[in-house]
């Protein structure tokens, strides 16, 4: 394990202050925070943020980014999530697609996509899960067949967040039949699909919270030109696995609940009574855990910055973080008492209601608890 506490440099602290002031100025006083990475899709916010140089920060300067370190990006992302800022438009493009393009993309792809991502103008969705391929991602059935100048893609993707708003999806699909490839992890490829192309049909999958931001995406013979293949044909599995290590340990895994936690403190502050021991213990326990998990996450960022690939540590942090997030919802509910009213008079009540309905997804998205523990167990018992 590489977990070592890490201090921020004066420059990193200064950046934090800068982002904090910017957000305080731009978000309205009565702003309802999003639940961390569940922040809203707001192209105007993304554009203004990009003007500050805070979208696609780790993209090198030659491709239109800021060439910032992993930890500087960590600091900015942390402040955005802490504020519950509306980050959804650029979230996947900047967290996942840009690093993948840098690692596996062609020079032409980098020159075309990266400046647009950094400008906050090019938004991505993830085309991984399918009706019959969730945790067992290698069983994807979406198929691309060779045609003149490219590929024709047919299949169905599900849980595709904001596919109805975003421009592209990176679609994991089978380019060589399993029988021919020999190994089920072989013969998979990643194609960049234009979500506006002919044959793409996006329809919402309403979730239990009433929101309709995740979708089913049916690909019906969609043409993808050769220049939109990401990385090597047949190497999709290795590429996706590398992506997931980056996806897993970030501040999005412990900050979904900061908004409701902060709102609870507001309620306590407004009450005439001093907080009782039980309430104080709840507030303190959450604070202590968050402070510690944040240090674990920062340690992973620091290690990524030094060129290491802490995949197991990342899985541990995601598991600890998301389990913690769910506990926080129950702890606050217990401390507050009473019925949960989604239209209640305080921000705390409304956010708590939203959290209860959303919390089940936190330990599912980006790898379920069970999958993550499987990865960690393999490493521990090796």
């Amino acid at each position: 394990m590489i977990f070592a506490p890490s201090a921020l440099s004066p420059g990193e602290e200064a950046l934090r202050e800068e982002v904090r002031s910017f957000l305080a100025a731009i978000l309205p006083a009565d702003f309802r925070p999003g639940l961390g990475l569940g922040g809203r899709h707001d192209p105007e916010f993304t554009r203004v943020l990009a003007e500050q140089g805070w979208v696609g920060m780790s993209i090198p300067v030659e491709y239109g980014g800021a060439g910032a370190s992993t930890v500087r990006r960590f600091v900015v992302v942390e402040e955005l999530l802490a504020a519950g800022a509306p980050i959804a438009a650029h979230w996947i493009a900047e967290r996942q697609t840009a690093p993948a393009l840098l690692r596996f993309g062609t020079e032409e792809q980098r020159r075309w996509f990266l400046p647009r991502i950094a400008a906050g103008e090019c938004w991505f969705s993830l085309g991984m899960s399918e009706p019959d391929a969730g945790s067992d991602l290698a069983s994807v059935r979406t198929t691309a067949t060779r045609v003149d100048g490219g590929w024709r893609v047919t299949g169905t993707k599900v849980w595709t967040t904001n596919a109805h708003l975003n421009h592209f999806a990176v679609v994991l699909c089978r380019t060589t039949p399993e029988a021919e490839a020999g190994d089920r992890h072989a013969g998979l490829s990643q194609l960049i699909v234009d979500l506006g192309a002919d044959g793409v049909r996006v329809s919402p999958i309403p979730l239990i919270d009433g929101e309709e931001h995740v979708n089913e995406v049916v690909l019906d013979g969609v043409f993808v030109p050769d220049e939109r293949v990401l990385g090597e044909v047949g190497k999709g599995w290795a590429q996706v696995t590398a992506e997931l290590a980056h996806e897993r340990s970030g501040p999005d895994r412990y900050l979904s609940v900061l908004g409701v936690y902060r709102a609870f403190l507001e309620v306590c502050h407004d009450s005439a009574d001093d907080v009782d021991d039980t309430t104080a213990a709840a507030i303190g326990r959450i604070g202590a855990q968050m402070w510690t998990i944040r240090q674990l996450s920062l340690a992973v960022a620091r290690s990524l910055e030094q060129g290491e690939a802490p995949a197991v540590e990342a899985a541990l942090v995601k598991d600890v973080g998301t389990t913690f997030e769910q506990q926080v919802v129950e702890t606050l509910r217990d401390a507050a008492g009473g019925e949960i009213d989604p239209e209640g008079p305080t921000m705390f009540e409304r956010l708590l209601a939203e959290c209860v309905l959303n919390a089940p997804t936190w330990t599912l998205r980006g790898g379920t608890t069970e999958v993550l523990r499987g990865i960690a167990a393999k490493a521990l018992t090796r």
Partner: protein
Amino acid sequence: MTVLSDVTAVREAVADVLADRCTPAALEDAERDGWAPGVWDPLHAGGFTTVGVPEDAGGAGGSVAQACAVLEEIGAAAAPVPLAETGLLAGRLLAHAALVLPDGPLTTGVGPVALRHGALVGRLERVAWARRAHRIVLLADDPAGGLVVAVVDPAAASITPGRNLAGEPRDAVDLDGVVPETLAPAPPDAREALARRGALARAALIAGAAHRVRDLTVAYTGERVQFGRPVSRFPAVADHLVRLAEQAEMAAMAARAAAMGAGEHGEPAALDAAAAAAVASEAAGLVAAAAHQATGAMGVTREFALGVLTRRLWSWRDEWGGERAWAIRLGRTLAAGGSDALWPTLSRGVGTSP
């Protein structure tokens, strides 16, 4: 980087000294006798008993982070000696009052003790190794309303032996009428600072023991075969291992971050120490429970090495406060700070970057 490598060097040096000294037989002897000269003497000779106490006070020098690195190794080895008490706790108490350390094992405790006409009134409960300490160092209220550091010869006090779940001495010390050998004014926040160091020291011990519990449990479940394969291959058992490992890392990160926050010469911050204690004490129970479930009946035998560690985890988590008391303190501070200060407080750094 120097801080980290120093910490690593200290850790390795202590591990070297302890290797093969905390044997099952040595630990059984220590439980019976209340003392382990075979463990204390080499640590003392190597200068490891006063890491974290400034050299001009007679200590070995070093930061809180280095002192905690020593304690992690003590915890991992289940070494039955008052290392935390001698260095980080009593040692620093003396140093902060500009007193020089007496030689040998020291201990301390907190309780309602006062100084009246040159003699002490009061009693300290559950003082670690009081019966074997060369001197007891304590804080007492003086008649003028201030606080003094008093150094007491245990022979002058009335000591009732007690122990914790691991058989480590935790004695009651009746101080009524005892005239201290040495008295010196203490800073007004000395009680609070001592409690913080006590909590952080326990967190570091817990972190060390938790890591060792993880290693033992992983090894045992990898060797124990049932239904034709090692039990660690069963997902339900593997789940215990992962949660155990996670909680060990939580305890270690909390303790190390709080220790690092103290810097080269400073003391742990109030919020950091409270957070470390709250996290590590909770982790201790989870680690012990997961380890015992994974190791089955073998784990609860006196013969197996797990018990000396889990009995310590169950003891240390409550000493110097326990998770609920520290969570309450932290929670009151966070609540008083208000919602706007919450995130800036939780995201504050752990000292300056190298």
